[in-house]
Symmetry: C2
Subunit: 182 residues, 2 copies
């Protein structure tokens, strides 16, 4: 399949932002024709599937400016520069929800939008959850609301398009599958 590679002729950096960079590459296609590729560089992210002892999935509701609406998602966040994804997952879980866990393990990783972006999301599963007593530890710049929902409630939220993003629908389906093969 290496014959399908696209050779970079030039790269033009359009934007370097706080979170994303945008490049436009002029490329040579496998048939010798030229084209352009619009490419977003992103630091990557983590997300956490966290189910409490009484079988509630921990979610957060927050406003998403790109969509101009709220979404209900599993806890998640961007990687800081050089940050270990596992440490990032623990940090985001605690900052967004006030929960800490005994065990955090990597379930899978995936690119979210390989057609135009290099964002890679690492999905962790947290076990042995415990709410920190000092809930004032929540990050004061995180405007999120904590929700704890059953699997049935999560499936209903998918139907209502309030859960409406890839990582969270993947997480809900993972928990359905786990129940089904139990």
């Amino acid at each position: 399949m290496s014959q399908f590679n696209e050779k970079t002729i030039t790269r033009k950096t359009i934007f370097q932002g706080r979170i994303i960079d945008l490049h436009v590459d002029e490329v040579e296609l496998p048939n010798g024709k030229k084209s352009t590729r619009e490419i977003i560089k992103h630091p990557g992210a983590v997300a956490v599937i966290a189910v409490t002892d009484n079988q509630k999935i921990i979610m957060v509701e927050q406003f998403r400016k790109a969509l101009e609406r709220n979404l209900i998602e599993i806890p998640a966040g961007k990687l800081e520069k050089g940050e270990d994804p596992l440490e990032c997952a623990k940090r985001e879980l605690e900052e967004e929800t006030g929960y800490i866990c005994e065990n955090m393990s990597l379930l899978t990783s995936f690119y979210t939008s390989p057609g135009f972006a290099d964002e890679l999301v690492h999905i962790y599963v947290a076990e042995g959850l415990r709410k920190k007593e000092d809930s004032a530890a929540l990050d004061e710049d995180e405007f999120v609301e904590l929700l704890e929902v059953s699997l049935d409630e999560a499936l209903q939220l998918v139907k209502e398009e309030r859960i409406y993003d890839a990582k969270t629908q993947y997480a809900v389906q993972y928990l359905q599958l786990k129940n089904a093969v139990r």
Copy 2:
């Protein structure tokens, strides 16, 4: 939760490309502080879960410039302006794989990267698949290689990180779940 909305103060359009646009919004946060949001506008996309009569999942391998590597994915493509997602799904399946189907139904839709992009992907399930006799109908500007893999092979490709994107891992998990509840 409406108290968490971010008010747009200004919007600056940085880039308008063939596929994506980039805006930077200056926003007022719920606590009155100001911040910026880097936002990618995308036309949306479709993807197709297609399983042949002999239980093979139809996939395509292609080079992804944003990642500088190949990925194996379910057939997918961007929506043309004003295009009906269902028609787009049928078109992409035929153009990328040479397969047509009797039935195509919407399984779910999800935002891929709600933190910075408005790309919405519609996932369809195709049934009653039939390979067109005239396979020269494949789009000559699509540099993709057709693969037909079993569910076990797909799970192995996930482990090997050759299947490595959200929509395809969602699709593989969907087929696992379907098998498990059968």
